[in-house]
Subunit: 200 residues, 2 copies
DNA sequence: GTCTATAGGGGGATAGAC
DNA sequence: GTCTATCCCCCTATAGAC
C-alpha cells in the first residue's frame, strides 16, 4: 500500500474522471438518470463504454460521482456557513441568481430530484439528505433574523425555510419550461422581502 | 359512418381503455414516462403487451390519453372558471388540499413535468400549455382581487401568479421526498394570505 | 379484441487482449 | 488504461393466428 497521498485510490487519471463527470452531467441533465445512457456519456468524452466503466464501475457509482462533485462546487460557491442570518440569506439569493446562467445545472437537479422521489432511485437518500442539509443551513438563518426582529410579524422561521426551498425549486421548473417568462432570482428575492424587513 | 354518438372512434371497449389508463398513471407516476414500460402496464391490467397496443397504438399516445383524462378530471374538480377572483383562489387552494390524499397524482405531475423540460419529450408542449392555462386562470383572479383592493400593497398580480404556481410545484416535490415534514396546503395557504388581505 | 411470436434496437455490465 | 467482443436483459412495435 502506498501512502495515502495524491496517488491514492483515485489517482489513476483524475483528468479523465473529470471529463467523464462533466459529460455525465450533460447527459443526465438532458435525459435524467433513467433516460441517460453510459454509451452516450462515453461517446461524448471520446472513449468506449468499457473504458468509462474502468473509471466508474457502475452507472449508479457515476451518479454518485456527479452528485459529490456538484456538492463540492456548491459548498465552495455558497461561501461562509458560519456567518449571521442576514449574510446567509444574501448568499442564498446570490447563489440562485448565479444559477440563472447555468441552465444545465438547473436541468440536472430538476430531473434528478423528481426521479429521486421514487424510493428505489439510487439518488433517493441523497436528495432527502440534501433537503435536510439546506434546511439545516437556512433555518438557523431565519431563526437568527427572528431573534433580531428582522422577520415580519407572524413569520415562522421553520415555515419560511420550507417555503423558501419550495419557491426555489418551483421557479426553477417554471424557468426551464418557459425560459422567457421570468427570472428565477426575482421570485426568490420577492419571497425574501415578503418574510423579512430587509432589502435585497 | 355511424352518427357520432357513444359508438364513435373510441367505443371499442371504453372500460378496458379506462383500466389501461389507470394502470398507466400508476406506472408513469412511479417511474416516469422514460422509465415506465408498457409491459408493466399491460401486466397490471392483466393483458399482453400486444393487447394493450391494440387500444393505444404507441407509448406516447398512451401518455396523451393519460394527460387528457387527468385534464378532464381536474377541470371538473376545479369548479367554476367564471367566478370572481376570490372564489378562484379559494378553489385553487381547495384543489391543492385535495391533492394531499392523492399521492400518486402528485408523483405523476412531478416526474412528468421535470422530464418534459427536455424539448424532445412527448409531453413538452403539453406542459408549456398547461402553465399557460393555469396562469390564464389565476392571473385574472389576482387582477380582480387587485381591482377590489384585496391584494396587499406592492403585490403585482402577474408576479403573484408566477410565484403561486412556483410554490405549489416546489412544495409538491418537497412533500414527495419528505412526506412527514409538511402539508402542501399549508404552504399555499400561507402564500395566499401573504399576498392578499383575505383569510383562508 | 386478444393472443403468441418475432423483429430490431438499446441498455448495463463483463472477459480478455493489448 | 483502453479497447473489441460478447452476454443477457428489457424495450417498443409489428405480423398474423384465433
Amino acid at each position: 500500500m502506498a501512502t495515502s497521498g495524491p496517488r491514492g485510490q483515485y489517482a489513476k487519471t483524475p483528468q479523465r474522471r473529470q471529463e467523464i463527470l462533466e459529460a455525465a452531467i450533460e447527459v443526465f441533465a438532458a435525459s435524467g438518470y433513467r433516460g441517460g445512457s453510459l454509451r452516450e456519456i462515453a461517446d461524448r468524452v471520446g472513449m468506449s463504454l468499457a473504458g468509462l466503466l474502468h473509471h466508474f464501475s457502475s452507472k449508479s457509482e457515476l451518479l454518485s460521482g456527479v452528485l459529490t462533485l456538484r456538492d463540492e462546487v456548491a459548498i465552495r460557491d455558497f461561501g461562509s456557513m458560519e456567518g449571521p442570518g442576514e449574510e446567509r440569506v444574501r448568499n442564498y439569493l446570490r447563489l440562485i441568481i448565479g444559477n440563472e446562467s447555468e441552465r444545465g445545472l438547473a436541468e440536472l437537479y430538476c430531473i434528478l430530484s423528481a426521479e429521486a422521489t421514487a424510493p428505489d432511485h439510487p439518488a433517493h437518500d441523497y436528495f432527502i439528505q440534501r433537503y435536510e442539509f439546506v434546511s439545516g443551513l437556512m433555518y438557523p438563518a431565519f431563526a437568527d433574523l427572528a431573534a433580531q426582529g428582522k422577520l415580519r410579524p407572524g413569520v415562522d422561521p421553520k415555515q419560511a425555510t420550507i417555503d423558501l426551498i419550495a419557491i426555489t425549486d418551483g421557479i426553477q421548473l417554471q424557468w426551464l419550461l418557459r425560459p422567457n417568462v421570468n427570472q428565477m432570482g426575482e421570485s426568490v428575492r420577492r419571497y425574501l422581502e415578503s418574510v423579512t424587513t430587509l432589502e435585497f
